[in-house]
C-alpha cells in the first residue's frame, strides 16, 4: 500500500489545560483527522474534537438479545420441548423465569460493552505509527499529545508544524511510518 512519507505531526503539552486549548484551536482551523492522547480520561479534550460514541446502542442491542435468548430458552425447554408438571404450575411459569432473564440480560450487555468498546477502538492493535516517536511513551504517564495526521486534506508539510509550534508545545515531532 502506498502512503504519504510520514503519518503526521505530534505536539506535546505538559498540562491538560494547554492540550484542550490547542485542540480547540486545531479543530477551529478546520483539521478533522486529529487525535488527542492523555494518561487519563479528559472529557474536555473529547469535546474539543467533537467526538461522541454510539457504544450505548450496541449495549442495548446486546442486552435485548440476552433477554430474548433467556426467555426463549426457558420457554422452549419448559413449555415446548419437555413440559413437566411441577406442583401444578403452568408450563410457562414466567415469574420463575425472571431471574435467568435478568442474569442473561446483564451478561450479554456486559460482554457487548467490552467487546464493542474494544472493537470500535480498533483494539487489539499491535502496531501504530505514534509509537515510533520515542517521547510518546510519556502519553501513558504524565504528558499530553495532539496529533495531526498527514491524511488530513488541510495538511501541509510546512504550515501544519508551524501551527503546532505556535501553540507553545513542549515539543513537536514528525511521526514516521
Amino acid at each position: 500500500m502506498k502512503h504519504p512519507p510520514m503519518f503526521g505531526y505530534l505536539a506535546e503539552f505538559s498540562t491538560p489545560t494547554e492540550l484542550v486549548e490547542a485542540s480547540h484551536r486545531v479543530y477551529g482551523e478546520g483539521y478533522r483527522k486529529i487525535d488527542v492522547y492523555s494518561p487519563f480520561p479528559l472529557e474536555a479534550a473529547c469535546e474539543a474534537i467533537h467526538f461522541e460514541t454510539r457504544l450505548p446502542l450496541v449495549v442495548l442491542i446486546g442486552g435485548l438479545t440476552g433477554l430474548i435468548t433467556a426467555y426463549g430458552m426457558q420457554y422452549w425447554i419448559s413449555a415446548l420441548d419437555y413440559p413437566l408438571n411441577i406442583g401444578g404450575r403452568p408450563f410457562n411459569s414466567w415469574p420463575a423465569f425472571i431471574i435467568v432473564c435478568f442474569e442473561l440480560t446483564v451478561l450479554f450487555s456486559a460482554i457487548s460493552a467490552v467487546i464493542g468498546m474494544l472493537a470500535m477502538n480498533g483494539l487489539p492493535l499491535p502496531y501504530h505509527p505514534v509509537f515510533n516517536v520515542e517521547r510518546f511513551s510519556a502519553a501513558s504517564n504524565d504528558s499530553f499529545f495532539l496529533l495531526i495526521e498527514a491524511a488530513d486534506p488541510l495538511f501541509d508539510a510546512k504550515t501544519t508544524p508551524e501551527l503546532l509550534r505556535g501553540l507553545h508545545p513542549a515539543g513537536v515531532w514528525e511521526v514516521p511510518y
Binding site: S78, R89, N121, A139, N141
Partner: protein
C-alpha cells in the same frame, strides 16, 4: 517539562478540617503516581514478606488439592455430611466466600456511580479480591456434587441423550446463572479497568520482556481521546450493570434457602439480610488485605487512613443491618406463633450449637461496636483485629443458618447431628490458601492500584476554563 517541575502538587481535598484524612498524601504528581505503583511490580524485587506469605498460602492450597483428590477417590462420605444435614461445610463456605466478593463490586460499581472518589485507590485490588473469592466460592458447589466432571450436565442447559433439562423453576439453577454471570461481569470490569494501566506498565518497564508482556496485555492502548470516551462509556455501563447484579447475587443465593420450607430458612428477610452480611464481610476482607499490603509496599500515601476509616464506617452500618436481621428473625419466630419456628430460635441459642451461636453474636454484633470510636477506626491494629473477628463472625452466621436449621427440623425422629471432619477443615482452610496465593500473584504481576484513576485525584488533572 514534566508535571513535577511545576512545584509541589497538593492533593485535592487536603485536610481542611482537623481529623479528616486526605485521599492521597500531598507531594504527588502524575509522574510519581505512575512510578510508585509500577515500581512495586517492575522495579523493586520480591519482598521477603511476599515470599513467606506465598510459601504458606501455596502449601495450604496444596493441602486443599490433596483433600479434594481424596474426595474424588472416596466420595462425599469423607465429609461430615449425612441426612438430615446434607449441605454442611460446602454450602457454608460457598455462601461465605461469595459474600466476601460483594465488597469489591460495591466499591468498583456502586461507589463509582455515586462518584465517591475515595474508591479510586482501593477498587483495583478489591475487584481482584472479588474474582478470587468467587473462584473459591464456585469450587464448593462443584465438589459438593461429588462428581464435578458431570456437573456441567446437571447445571447447564445442555442437550442430553435422555432429553431432560435443568429445572428453571428451581432457585438452584437460578444460582448457577447468577454466580456465573457475576464472575464473568466482575472479570470484564476488572480487565477493562486494567487496560490503560497495562499501557502505563508497558511504558514504565525497564526490561524488554516486561515491555513485551505488558504490551501484549495492553493491546496497543495509546490513550486516544476517542478511546477514552468509549472506555468511559463502557466503564459506566458496566458499573450500572454490576450494581443491580451484585445486589441480585446474594439475593439469589438466599433464595436457595428461603424458597424452601425449613424453619429458619423460610423467611422474607433473607435477601436484604444476606446482601448486607455479604458487604459486611467483604469490607472486612478489604481491610484485612489493605493493611498488610500498604505496610509491605509503603503505600500509606495512597491507601490512606481515610479509606480505612470509611471502610470501618461501612462495616458499622452494614453490621447493624445484619443485627436488625437477627432481631427481626427472632421477633418473627416468636410472633408467628409457629412452634417449629420458635423451636428453631431456642435451638440456636440453647441447643447443641449454642457456643457457635453465641460466638457469632459476639463476633458480629458486640466486638465491632468498637468502631463507634474514632480511635479504633483509625488504628490499624484495631481495624485488622476487628475485621478478622467480623470474617469469623460472618462465617459462623453461615454455619448457623445452614447447620442448625437442618439438623432439627420438624419430626424429632429425623433429627441428627453434624460435625465437620478433617477433610472439611482441610478444604476450607485450603481455599484460604488458594485465595491468598492468587492475591499474592496479582500483587506481584499487576498494578494493585488504579494508576489512571489516582491521577484524576490530583488538582492538575482538572482542565481550567
Amino acid at each position: 517539562m514534566s508535571a513535577e517541575s511545576k512545584g509541589g502538587a497538593t492533593a485535592i481535598e487536603s485536610p481542611a478540617q482537623p481529623g479528616v484524612f486526605p485521599l492521597i498524601e500531598p507531594g504527588h504528581s502524575f509522574n510519581t503516581i505512575s512510578d510508585k505503583i509500577t515500581s512495586v511490580v517492575v522495579r523493586r524485587g520480591t519482598p521477603l514478606a511476599w515470599l513467606g506469605g506465598f510459601l504458606i498460602a501455596f502449601t495450604l492450597m496444596n493441602v486443599m488439592l490433596g483433600a479434594i483428590a481424596w474426595l474424588f477417590f472416596k466420595g462425599t462420605d469423607i465429609w461430615g455430611i449425612n441426612i438430615p444435614v446434607g449441605w454442611g461445610f460446602a454450602i457454608v463456605n460457598f455462601v461465605w466466600w461469595i459474600g466476601i466478593g460483594h465488597a469489591g463490586t460495591l466499591i468498583s460499581a456502586i461507589l463509582h456511580l455515586l462518584k465517591q472518589s475515595w474508591r479510586n485507590s482501593i477498587n483495583r485490588f478489591a475487584e481482584a479480591m472479588t474474582l478470587f473469592a468467587v473462584m473459591c466460592a464456585g469450587l464448593f458447589p462443584l465438589i459438593h456434587t461429588g462428581r464435578p466432571w458431570l456437573a456441567a450436565y446437571w447445571l447447564l442447559p445442555l442437550p442430553l441423550t435422555m432429553g431432560v433439562w435443568p429445572q428453571f423453576r428451581s432457585p438452584l439453577i437460578w444460582d448457577v446463572f447468577a454466580v456465573s454471570t457475576y464472575f464473568t461481569v466482575s472479570l470484564l470490569f476488572w480487565f477493562v479497568g486494567l487496560v490503560p494501566d497495562l499501557a502505563t506498565m508497558r511504558d514504565n518497564s525497564p526490561k524488554k520482556y516486561q515491555r513485551m508482556i505488558y504490551g501484549v496485555l495492553a493491546m496497543g492502548w495509546r490513550g486516544s481521546a476517542r478511546h477514552w470516551r468509549r472506555y468511559e462509556s463502557a466503564y459506566m455501563i458496566l458499573a450500572g450493570l454490576a450494581t443491580p447484579l451484585v445486589l441480585s447475587v446474594h439475593t439469589v443465593v438466599s433464595f436457595d434457602f428461603s424458597a424452601s420450607i425449613i424453619p429458619g430458612w423460610h423467611t422474607t428477610i433473607f435477601p436484604p439480610y444476606f446482601v448486607a452480611g455479604a458487604i459486611y464481610s467483604g469490607f472486612a476482607m478489604v481491610v484485612v488485605l489493605a493493611i498488610p499490603v500498604r505496610a509491605v509496599y509503603g503505600l500509606q500515601d495512597m491507601i490512606t487512613m481515610r479509606h480505612l476509616e470509611n471502610s470501618a464506617k461501612l462495616m458499622l452500618a452494614t453490621g447493624w443491618i445484619v443485627g436488625y436481621g437477627y432481631i427481626y428473625e427472632a421477633f418473627t419466630s416468636w410472633y408467628s406463633g409457629n412452634q417449629f419456628e420458635f423451636f428453631m430460635l431456642s435451638n440456636r441459642a440453647l441447643g447443641p450449637y449454642r457456643w457457635w451461636y453465641w460466638s457469632l453474636i459476639t463476633c458480629n454484633l458486640i466486638i465491632p461496636q468498637v468502631f463507634w470510636t474514632k480511635k479504633a477506626r483509625t488504628s490499624t491494629g484495631w481495624l485488622f483485629f476487628t475485621s478478622c473477628v467480623i470474617l469469623v463472625g460472618m462465617w459462623l452466621e453461615r454455619f448457623i443458618i445452614v447447620i442448625v436449621s437442618l439438623h432439627r427440623d420438624f419430626v424429632p425422629s429425623s433429627w441428627g447431628h453434624y460435625m465437620p471432619t478433617k477433610y472439611d477443615w482441610a478444604t476450607f482452610i485450603g481455599t484460604l490458601g488458594m485465595f491468598t496465593t492468587f492475591f499474592l500473584l496479582f500483587l506481584r504481576g499487576l498494578p494493585a492500584i488504579s494508576i489512571a484513576e489516582m491521577k484524576l485525584l490530583l488538582p492538575e488533572a482538572k482542565v481550567k476554563e
